[in-house]
Symmetry: C2
Subunit: 304 residues, 2 copies
């Protein structure tokens, strides 16, 4: 078990794996634009001057990453993740006075939209007359609150939303965010609730065209995604407070896996949950012990 | 090439494969409710009486199917498919006087919502005062049209929407729909624009719990999904007009694959498209020849 207890980031091969992952990944579009937004966000929300009030900044990741199976992507592996927790947590952190960088999977749950039906337009609204649209009375309060609170956060510049889809985009953007937040030292926090793929197909090993289906069973070999937490904790933003998440389907191994994550990656907290009960209960694992948090609103308002 | 030319449905093994697929698939929830909706829909929209006017009925399938990789599903394989084509086609078929059964992937594009932004609530609306929500003027027309046309179709009972997520649900519900439409004979049509998985993990062969990631590369063997078109054309609704779709990423094999599909499954039409140009051009392949259809509004209003 020594292998597990040793902090993996003092060994060479994880760093090599991480470097190799980034070297061979397809290049991220909009790098310049993303960095510009991060710079602007940092200026608005954090000041090193003694006279200006700084807000603590948390990067919240949300939703699942995809693993393309073909370069001209038709099929991909996905992770089940609605993004509800990340979206809910964003609302709570904003209320608690943090500024939030919300790194989310395109199409998943947005902050302030949780209580609205999926088929929003078609369920909440009605034509009142030729000129107007009315909100159904039962939904009116929820809709108004969603719109106004979202506008408020965006206008004040406290909420920066950055979307991703693939595992490549996710890790590349996370790295940009972390490098940008590095200068915030211990005022920075990472709340990594995204469901990140454990396995992937390296870009160069990927078929270019859609895999054909008339030739019998399909055999696939997937490589392990390098554990980026190591790079985050050691290189990218070593002073930031880090909360990672662990989801398992087998309660018997859940706590063991959470403990392993705490030790191996040297994060400050691991929020452990089981698939079927995750909306009712999570266990927050840290070096000082475990806390079981039960519903309602399953939220850990972490203090730095 | 005789193998390809022979209609595959006269051979035993595809039928055995199909039967085996359904026998081993996890049971569909809400079978009774789905059948009740189909019966009600059929009564409202199709009458065998000479005195009542019947509408032709088309089943439009839309969006991609998922292939769960674990029984307690955390990861799954998905197909890239926004559902735009299926949603757009539904609008056109309704306008042309058909009744539509819309079998769609949860979360994908809905009829009448195509021109609206993804982040609808947060982009289109604004708080006008404490009591009201206004639609931004630029979006008002589109929003009103979406709401009113959708309401109209639903209220008249001409549009039945049935959602799916997994390959299992999709094929099970498609079978129910086809068996229900069987009695409509040649007044029934199938417009199969859904992106259906070619490969899957049979339920009994599936890991129960989330696959663990610390043990090195992951090897997966996926079985071929039996071609249900064979069963649809031969058994479920043999008199219905069938349009299937073929998406490839390699233009060189596109027409060849479309021809193969036409012959092998004995469908009436195949709409062939290439991934990168699918919004600009499709080729409609039938026994009487090929027609290239270019944008705008990439719609084939098929006549029975």
């Amino acid at each position: 078990m020594d292998e597990i207890k040793d902090s993996a980031y003092f060994q060479d091969s994880p760093c090599t794996e991480i470097k190799s992952f980034f070297d061979t990944a397809p290049p991220l579009k909009d790098v310049i634009e993303i960095n510009r937004k991060l710079e602007e966000f940092k200026k608005r929300n954090h000041s090193s001057s003694e006279h200006k009030r700084s807000r603590r900044v948390v990067c919240i990741t949300s939703g699942g990453t995809t693993v393309p199976l073909e370069q001209r992507c038709v099929r991909y592996i996905d992770n089940f993740s609605s993004g509800h927790r990340g979206a809910a947590s964003t609302e709570y952190f904003l209320k608690a006075g943090y500024s939030v960088i919300f790194l989310y999977r395109r199409g998943t749950c947005q902050p302030y939209c949780r209580s609205l039906p999926d088929d929003l337009l078609l369920e909440c609204f009605d034509i009142t007359d030729e000129l107007n649209i009315g909100v159904n009375p039962g939904d009116a309060e929820a809709v108004k609150r969603a719109v106004s609170e979202h506008h408020s956060a965006v206008i004040k510049g406290n909420l920066l939303k950055l979307p991703f889809t693939t595992i490549f985009e996710y890790l590349q953007i996370l790295q940009l965010i972390a490098l940008s937040m590095r200068s915030l030292g211990s005022s920075a926090m990472f709340y990594l609730s995204a469901a990140v793929s454990d396995f992937y197909v390296p870009w160069e090993a990927m078929m270019v065209h859609k895999i054909q289906s008339h030739t019998g069973p399909l055999d696939m070999r997937l490589a392990q995604v390098p554990k980026m937490l190591l790079a985050l904790r050691k290189d990218w933003a070593p002073l930031a407070f880090c909360i990672s998440f662990k989801l398992e389907t087998d309660t018997e191994i859940l706590l063991e896996k959470a403990d392993m994550a705490l030790t191996k990656y040297n994060v400050h907290m691991v929020v452990a949950n089981e698939l079927l009960t995750r909306k009712e209960e999570v266990i927050v694992v840290s070096k000082s012990g475990n806390i079981t948090v039960c519903r309602d609103k399953n939220q850990d308002g972490a203090d730095v």
